[in-house]
């Protein structure tokens, strides 16, 4: 009873603002449409078009590619940053300051930051001029902007913190006595890391991974802007269809995306059941 009462606000918000739109979405995904209007109906054409098109498969391939690379990099970087904050930095105050320091860039609108990537990474940008000035390159590096490299770079920029926070949270809950015991038993740094810290951080890693994968799989802005519109993602495909008022096609695509990502999340939860370890 008490649990229900506590969970009720969450359930209510999600029912009103998620279940209703979701139900509409599923219904619309079976509608027919032409250039001008939706035709309420029950047709599977939209799904046939989603699965029957090579574009879908190629786009999913590319999206998985972005998600995989971004996940690996954010995990690697995020884990060590979290480790630094949890085990090297001492004192809550100092940690808070460092966290805030990492958050401030995100309080400038993303749209403005996205514009700023052009003068940062472009042919005449800060990065290229620094590289040329330091004598590392003598030609501007073109791949820095409007490329897959740029897309991944922006994702890492945007989402590493989403990995850091949950991992940091679980690291802070690691009982320091366990580490001391391991060290006393003669375990070196890497052994402690592998056999003590890493297993205990699994829930944090899982949650961070869910954040990053979900964010990348659904993205439609970063991919377009950083690839200069030359690369596709599932989110972008859906947003294109929405902008042309092809709601049924977008809805069908979204339902498929939803199922795919839910399966990915379920797989992560199979490896690490974050709820069982509550």
């Amino acid at each position: 009873m008490r649990a229900w009462f506590l969970a009720a606000p969450l359930a209510l918000v999600l029912a009103a603002f998620l279940l209703v739109p979701l139900a509409m979405l599923v219904a619309v995904s079976f509608y027919d449409y032409d250039s001008f209007r939706l035709i309420p109906d029950f047709v599977t054409t939209n799904y046939v078009e989603v699965f029957g098109s090579m574009v879908t498969w190629r786009t999913y391939g590319k999206t998985f590619f972005f998600a995989g690379i971004t996940w690996a990099i954010t995990l690697l970087v995020g884990f060590w940053v979290a480790y630094y904050l949890a085990f090297v930095v001492e004192g809550t105050g100092k940690r808070t300051v460092l966290f805030l320091l990492c958050t401030i860039p995100f309080w400038t609108s993303n749209l403005i930051r996205m514009i700023a990537w052009v003068p940062f990474l472009g042919r005449n940008g800060l990065a290229n001029r620094a590289l040329q000035g330091a004598g590392i390159t003598d030609q501007p590096l073109e791949f820095l902007l409007f490329s897959e490299f740029a897309v991944v770079l922006a994702f890492v920029h945007l989402y590493t913190l989403f990995m850091v926070v949950p991992i940091f949270n679980t690291m802070m809950r690691v009982d320091r006595r366990l580490i001391e015991a391991a060290v006393d038993a003669g375990a070196g740094f890497w052994r402690v890391l592998w056999f003590v810290i890493l297993p205990l951080c699994k829930p944090g890693i899982a949650i961070g991974s869910i954040f990053v994968i979900v964010l990348v799989m659904g993205d439609f802005v970063t991919v377009r802007l950083m690839s200069g519109g030359q690369s596709a993602s599932v989110g972008l495909m859906i947003s294109n269809q929405i902008s042309l008022l092809q709601y049924p096609a977008a809805a069908a695509n979204a339902v498929v995306l939803l199922i795919v990502v839910l399966m990915m999340v379920a797989a992560i939860l199979r490896i690490v059941d974050i709820r069982k370890e509550l």
Binding site: F17, P105, I112, P119, F120, L126, V165, Y247
Partner: protein
Amino acid sequence: MPGRLGRGLLTALFVAFVLFLYGPTLTIVVLSFQGPDGGLTFPMNGVSLHWFRRLFERQAVGDFGASITRSLALAAMVTLATVVISLAAGMAFRRRFVGSAALFYLTITSLILPSILVGLGIGLAFNQAEIDTHWWGSALGAQLTWTLPFGLLIMLAVFNRFDGAWEEAARDLGATSWQSFAHVVLPIVAPSVIGIALFGFTLSFDEFARTMLTAGTDNTLPLEILGMTTTVTTPVLYALGTASTLVSFLAIGLALALLWRARRQRA
């Protein structure tokens, strides 16, 4: 624990990470001092404070003041709601209850569903029900479907291995469940609650995909900026970025100074 070399390497990594995070910000700061004839990209066309002045004048298109006010108010509401709702739900999820798995997966779904479709769906639903969309109504709900999953998942990570013995001790001493929550649980999870608030604020303040079709007549700041990019934009956008970074630094510095003073007085 890492040795000296390890610590040094980790510090270097962290510094590099922070520098990377500030890359675009740095570009924004530099370019916000563009001359009056300068644009949003290099080369610099002179150096001036022109765009900071223009920030406070009427823009050709759009209105910063009104949209910032709306965005701040909305972000404050979202932050508060996110903290309260996810804290409550986090407490609930400490035990399994009927429907908990369903609610958990619903929350995950909320995170996964492409933002533009959530916005479109809510907009359509409101339109069908003939309820007007407003930034303080439908957009608030739309943003909560975005911030709550983050709040809940962080809360789950926090209550993960949370020692129930402390609460039992409190109850044995005769504390009501509210007292044990307020005096035992809350202080322990407080840092994470601040974390959720920070997440909620940051996510809401910058959200536009879900807000686009749910904000009704008035624009929030990201929507206003998006609208402004449909015509000639100027480094006034960068001036806004620089100013908001500066204000953030000042606000945080001030908060820390007050905290430090309070702590010293207590000591």
